[in-house]
């Protein structure tokens, strides 16, 4: 059984369809990356899974249990198994709490009174390679990288099965970024965590994700193993995204395949293939609507795929 099964998930705010039917699965211990431009709905997907954003249609099965639309009260015990890492590391830490209180807050929220919170704080800090005296610090005394690690520690406190991580390396220096990714890779192996990671940094995806899904206008347009997608992207949008990745080598000329124009408005979704107007490879027949096709575990929504 998959740990997480998202099926036809739809979210709209008024008449803005932010998510137009998202379907994917995450197996226990697997890392799944959601990739796409700003506004493609990545963050809404994980917020909707965690019950922090509305989802009007579809289903979210977590460990076999339907969790879409659960009340806050019914959701709370499940949050033990599902932790969230927010995008802004410092902003997601309450400025008035010490690091000790911040990382042990999950125990208090879950009413786990039998725990020795001091000992837990120590254990969690060492898990994320922070010295134990950090327990007495406040968020403003941390660097961006340290605040990230506190975020990881807090997400790990209740030994979840799934971590939902929104841009876990955004704003980090490259020398620190590697440290955080190593830490997450290591924890995943030791604790058997599954993760859904949102990022637009493709270099990060390559090193952490087993499988990835590419989102455009609130839909998945391609999905497959990370290797397959990097080696042979089939959807023109994926191809454009992957090509927009300048290499740290002055002799490697960028062979960028440019998207045409700007993302269309969600209020006025294009007819037929929604990517057609921006697609450098569009054909006449692309005014038809592509359906989601799966071939050898590789999902694709395109009428004129690249070969």
């Amino acid at each position: 059984m998959s740990l997480l099964e998202v099926n036809g998930l739809k979210t709209s705010y008024g008449n803005v369809n932010v998510l137009a039917g998202i379907t994917f699965k995450v197996e226990p211990g697997e890392t799944y990356a959601l990739v796409g431009e700003s506004g493609s709905g990545k963050t809404t997907v994980i917020r909707a899974i965690a019950g922090l954003a509305p989802a009007q249609e579809g289903s979210v099965l977590f460990d076999g249990q339907e969790i879409r639309g659960l009340s806050e009260r019914a959701m709370r015990p499940l949050r033990k198994d599902m932790a969230m890492m927010f995008q802004d590391p410092t902003g997601s830490l309450s400025p008035r709490l010490t690091i000790r209180n911040l990382i042990t807050e999950p125990y208090r929220i879950q009413g786990m009174k039998d725990r020795d919170l001091d000992a837990e704080a120590k254990r969690l800090l060492s898990l994320v390679n922070l010295p134990s005296h950090f327990a007495d610090r406040y968020p403003y005394q941390l660097s961006g990288g340290q605040a990230r690690r506190v975020g990881v520690a807090r997400a790990l406190a209740l030994e979840p099965k799934l971590i939902l991580a929104d841009e876990p390396t955004a704003g980090l220096d490259v020398s620190v970024q590697g440290e955080l990714l190593n830490l997450m890779n290591d924890l995943r192996e030791r604790l058997g965590l599954a993760m859904v990671i949102i990022t637009h940094n493709l270099n990060v995806v390559r090193h952490v994700a087993d499988r990835m899904g590419i989102m455009y206008l609130g839909r998945l347009v391609e999905e497959g193993t990370t290797e397959a997608i990097f080696e042979e992207p089939r959807h023109p949008y994926t191809h454009c995204l992957l090509s927009a990745n300048p290499e740290p080598d002055p002799d490697a000329r960028l062979e960028w395949v440019s998207l045409i124009g700007e993302p269309p408005s969600l209020l006025n979704r294009p007819k037929g293939c929604e990517f057609r107007e921006r697609c450098p490879f569009a054909k006449d027949f692309c005014h038809n609507t592509p359906t989601w096709q799966i071939e050898h575990g590789h999902g694709l929504r395109c009428l004129a795929p690249l070969s």
Binding site: E37, S38, G39, S143, G144, D173, V174, S175, V176, Q177, G178, E179, L181, N182, N185, H200, N201, L202, N203, V204, R206, H207, T226, E227, C240, L241, A244, N245, P246, E247, P248, D249, P250, D251, A252, L254, W256, S258, L259, G261, E262, P263
Partner: protein, 326 residues
């Protein structure tokens, strides 16, 4: 020195704080030639922002210029009267800031802001508006005439950054400072913005001081690179030299850390353990010694000077003077 547009000469800048003087910049020396794109690479706390605000002289009240000069077209900006300085900013020296969502006035139309920024010109309002539309077109905004009447919130982040570039170039400056102009943007928009910058640089022949921590973007765009660490220049030179033949351990480690290099899935990514030293309490000797895996006893003694290793390549590391005593 006649082809140098901007010369930063032994610039040292302190911030006076309750903990004592924070030595934010120490002995910074590099230059930007006419029409050249120079990249500044460095991580948090390396002094990039202090450097920019020193060039523009938009520094915090507790800033003290301890030593050195910032010469623009041969004139020291640090001693220039404020009025003269104001004539330069936004005219001959322009800047594009990091966050395109916060650089525009939200309650004025883009056209109004682009006309206002031409306040030095004596052209008629209609001419200024035409010029604004022409610049919008030049940065690739479709239908520029009509879009002048729209407000910043009606544009996407990438478009807003391109509008910021259009506004910075409208006065045809000889120096454009771009402070991490693509950090807040998606990869596709990032590439779009750097391509546009390169085209415009060729068209207007302005020099660009491009600040970024994205090595891929630096490699793609820049002619020369200055690598900064904890308030000092540790290495500088032509972009090929720096990327293919780095001569400072920090530069080498920084390039190693960039996951863009590593094509195969890596179990363990390289990092630089340790932290940037406290600038209010500087260690003796080399600033990087604590994190350097090649540190020697000598590194704890004197600060290694920035030495020319060959034409177009300088580094500040004792290792180079051992291998190759000049």
């Amino acid at each position: 020195m006649s082809d140098s547009l901007l010369e930063i000469d032994r610039l040292s800048v302190d911030y006076e704080t309750a903990r004592g003087d924070l030595k934010a910049l120490r002995d910074i020396t590099f230059d930007v030639k006419k029409g050249e794109i120079v990249g500044i690479v460095g991580e948090s706390g390396c002094g990039k922002s202090t450097l920019i605000s020193s060039i523009l002289r938009l520094t915090a009240p507790n800033t003290r210029f301890r030593e050195g000069e910032v010469r623009f077209k041969g004139q020291d900006l640090l001693t220039l009267p404020e009025r003269k300085m104001r004539d330069l900013r936004g005219a001959d020296i322009s800047i594009v800031f990091q966050d395109p969502m916060q650089t525009h006035n939200p309650v004025l139309s883009v056209g109004r802001q682009m006309v206002d920024i031409q306040h030095r010109s004596s052209a008629s309002r209609a001419d200024k508006r035409r010029r604004a539309a022409q610049m919008l077109g030049a940065v690739g905004i479709p239908d520029p005439e009509a879009r002048l009447d729209q407000f910043p919130h009606e544009f996407s982040g990438g478009m807003r950054q391109r509008i910021a570039i259009a506004m910075a170039l409208i006065s045809e400056p000889s120096l454009l400072i771009a402070d991490e102009p693509t950090t807040a943007l998606d990869a596709t928009l990032e590439v779009q913005v750097i391509e546009r910058l390169r085209e415009l640089q060729q068209e207007y022949n302005c020099a660009i001081l491009f600040i970024s921590h994205h090595l891929g973007v630096i490699a793609e765009l820049c002619d020369r690179v200055v690598v900064m660490y904890a308030g000092a220049v540790v290495e500088s030179g032509e972009v090929r030299e720096i990327f293919h033949n780095p001569k400072h351990p920090y530069t080498r480690r920084l390039i190693d850390c960039d996951p863009g290099h590593i094509k195969e899935r890596a179990r363990v990514l390289p990092t630089i353990p340790g932290e940037v030293p406290d600038l209010a309490n500087l260690p003796q000797g080399c600033i990087f010694q604590d994190r350097c895996d090649q540190a020697m006893p000598r590194c704890a003694g004197d600060v290694p000077p920035l030495t020319t290793l060959k034409v177009g390549h300088q580094a500040a590391c004792w290792l180079n003077q051992m291998e190759d005593p000049v």
